[in-house]
């Protein structure tokens, strides 16, 4: 008896179900990070099993043929949920600006601010700034006089709304039977409440978060058999190549499997398959036409240099090569609410999405598998792949959540419990957003702005004075907020004269004379040293702090800035801001 007939038989079906259950249980157990206590672990396993039971219960009823009448909320309910989700997304993203002022987001804002300045002043993107396509939308707004931070942040929030829209379109493009609308709305709801997506927004991954809606759009168009999928995918790859890697990998795997099937069965490829190859080729050609080979060369060099693994980088480079985003353990904790649903979604895909093995919808599980590999091992840009992976989890979780709601509402008090569950999810995400602090506080930004030169006699900072940060966390901020003047930062910009060993001596060693020697390498320049609030809270350089606070060469310029004067006789009296 062949494998296929064994599977088709009742015994085979039961064996498959048992295997699926075992995989689910193992995944539920393994998904929690090691530091979680056994009590919490048991609660989560119970939660996972409960979800599986609720969803399985309905399918059992269907088989017996006496299924209860469906009690699904009406269209108005789903429309209201969609409006709520979009509003929550919009307000959740705006909230940081309302509470913390003009620059509440993460590290990369300062870099983009610098790029914006260069681009608008020069009137072209130039070779100094990579990824041409990303920045071209800054011109219309920048030329009319909108400030840099306003343009960058407005577009950043706008791209989030577009991602929600693209996700909705993608889910609507899947063969989800008559439940397409509510499932798509649930997808948007999950996206709006996803803490991982909020984190990606907060970290200011501008290019990646611009590429992602186009990737989702390309997938949606692909499922609808539209030829526009090709230019859209090419554009997304040209904006941020590393975001398109899971999809590219999935396409390669899909084509290879199809080819192997063709060879094994000795028949010519189907039309569908030829379309896929052509789509891949045309997308690649478009990508190269838009970007040139520079991006491919960059990633290839990076890949060869570290043999594909971030762990092969030098110790201080590992986090950067990994992608400077939350670790996989934190990601899993953030996604705990919908993780069991996503697991059920992938294990029982054929139950939720009408699909045959040869159809295009198979691209979703293959993309999921490719992404899972990329995020599970310390590959280059491992943590950045998490952002797209989270979206795949949301896509897979939406249909099981809908079936969960559908089945749960048939039970007594089910609606109340569902409401409580939903409220808990909203409250938890809101709490995370509420407690999330900016990297640079408005007061710190104001202190740095005092050092910006206006070219007048009243300028506090003279033309040859330096600004210094002793933690790379504040690098882009200090450089941008002080007006892009001479800034000494660890390992970046041309003004830094120290190597890592010298920086380590400056940060950690007990020898203050050596510190003064190092500062003397900058000659007779006055240096304004900025130490931010986060750095002051987690003092891992107590000797440096003590040195700055006690050495007579230093005076406190403002709460977070100390002024270093090379010659003691020139020391000014402290200025209170």
């Amino acid at each position: 008896m062949g494998l296929v007939s064994a599977i088709q038989s009742g015994t085979g079906q039961r064996a498959l179900k048992a295997a699926s259950f075992l995989i689910y249980l193992t995944a539920i157990v393994l998904v929690l990070p090691g530091f979680i206590s056994w009590v919490h672990r048991l609660i989560f396993i119970g939660y996972g099993l409960f979800i599986l039971w609720v969803i399985r219960d309905k399918s059992a009823n269907n088989k017996s043929g006496d299924a209860d009448p469906e009690i699904i909320p009406g269209k108005n309910f789903w429309t209201a949920l969609l409006i709520f989700s979009l509003l929550y997304l919009f307000l959740g993203r705006l909230y940081m600006f309302i509470r913390y002022g003009a620059s509440p987001l993460g590290y990369d804002t300062g870099f983009y601010w610098q790029y914006f300045r260069l681009i608008i002043i020069n009137g072209n993107i130039g070779t100094a700034v990579g990824s041409h396509l990303t920045y071209s939308s800054w011109f219309p707004l920048g030329f009319l006089g909108l400030p840099a931070l306003t343009v960058i942040h407005l577009l950043h929030v706008f791209h989030q709304l577009l991602t929600a829209g693209a996700l909705y379109f993608l889910l609507r493009s899947l063969p989800l039977r008559k439940y397409s609308f509510p499932i798509s709305v649930l997808g948007v709801f999950l996206f709006a409440l996803s803490i991982n997506q909020f984190m990606a927004f907060w970290w200011m991954f501008y290019k990646q978060l611009l590429a992602i809606p186009f990737l989702l759009l390309a997938m949606g168009l692909f499922f609808r058999r539209s030829i526009i999928a090709i230019p859209v995918a090419g554009l997304a790859a040209a904006i941020h190549l590393s975001s398109a890697i899971p999809l590219g990998l999935a396409l390669i795997i899909f084509i290879t499997i199809q080819l192997l099937i063709c060879v094994a069965k000795r028949h010519l490829p189907e039309k569908e398959f030829i379309y896929l190859i052509l789509a891949g080729l045309l997308g690649s050609i478009l990508f190269i036409a838009l970007k040139g080979t520079a991006d491919i060369h960059y990633y290839l060099t990076l890949f060869l240099k570290y043999k594909g693994l971030a762990t092969n980088a030098r110790s201080w480079e590992i986090e950067q090569i990994r992608g400077l985003f939350i670790p996989f353990t934190t990601f899993r904790l953030n996604a705990l609410f919908y993780l069991p649903f996503a697991l059920i979604g992938i294990l029982q895909l054929r139950r939720f999405i009408e699909t045959r093995l040869t159809e295009r919808t198979l691209l979703i599980p293959i993309t999921f598998a490719a992404s899972l590999i990329l995020v599970s091992f310390p590959f280059i840009h491992q943590t950045r792949s998490l952002i797209f992976f989270d979206l795949l989890l949301i896509i897979l979780a939406a249909a099981p959540i809908f079936h969960f709601i559908k089945n749960f509402r048939r039970e007594r008090h089910g609606t109340v419990l569902l409401g409580l569950l939903c409220f808990g999810f909203v409250a938890f995400t809101s709490r995370v957003i509420w407690n999330h602090e900016p990297q640079l506080y408005a007061a710190e930004a104001a202190e740095l702005r005092v050092l910006e030169r206006q070219g007048t006699a009243e300028d506090l900072r003279k033309i040859d004075d330096y600004v210094m940060v002793v933690s790379s966390l504040y690098t882009p901020w200090a450089y941008a907020f002080t007006g892009f003047g001479p800034t000494i930062v660890p390992g970046w910009l041309t003004w830094d004269k120290w190597d890592l060993k010298m920086w380590e001596e400056f940060w950690f060693k007990a020898n203050n004379d050596r510190r003064l020697q190092l500062l003397q390498m900058y000659g007779d320049h006055v240096i304004y040293i900025f130490i931010g609030e986060h750095q002051l809270k987690q003092v891992n350089t107590p000797r440096l702090k003590e040195f700055i606070e006690t050495d007579p060469h230093f005076t406190r310029f403002s709460p977070h800035i100390w002024k270093y004067t090379p010659h003691l006789q020139d020391t000014d009296s402290p200025t209170n801001l």
Binding site: L133, S136, L144, L146, G165, A166, Y168, S226
Partner: protein
Amino acid sequence: MKKSQLKKISAIFALILIGLFLLFKTWLPDRGAFLLAIGMPFLYFLPGFLITKAFFRSGLDQIETIFLALLFSLMLSHLGIYIVEETTRQITRSGIAFTVIAINILAALTYLVSRKQLSPARLLTRLRSKLYKHD
């Protein structure tokens, strides 16, 4: 489209424009804010809307249509400005205005071609009917 529906859409559109104007007024003088608010639909909505209507005759709900319009417009504006910038190596305000106009015209032509409004046979039929009317 019904008259009442048209009125409703116009009112929403006007409200959005006023909202944009008030938003931009935070950073810009009246003239700049007005120009930007008026330019926004041509930059971020209209071309994408026409492309969506050209390529998807049915099967889209209103929400999909709106988001596809925004996404395609963003894509076209990125590509258009990028091509002009790369060709001229120096982009100016007039260059951007030209690009936005060109994108909108191309999108409108695509829409008309897809609806067979620009086919010679259709144009001839229209001309003929008009001529007969005048007779």
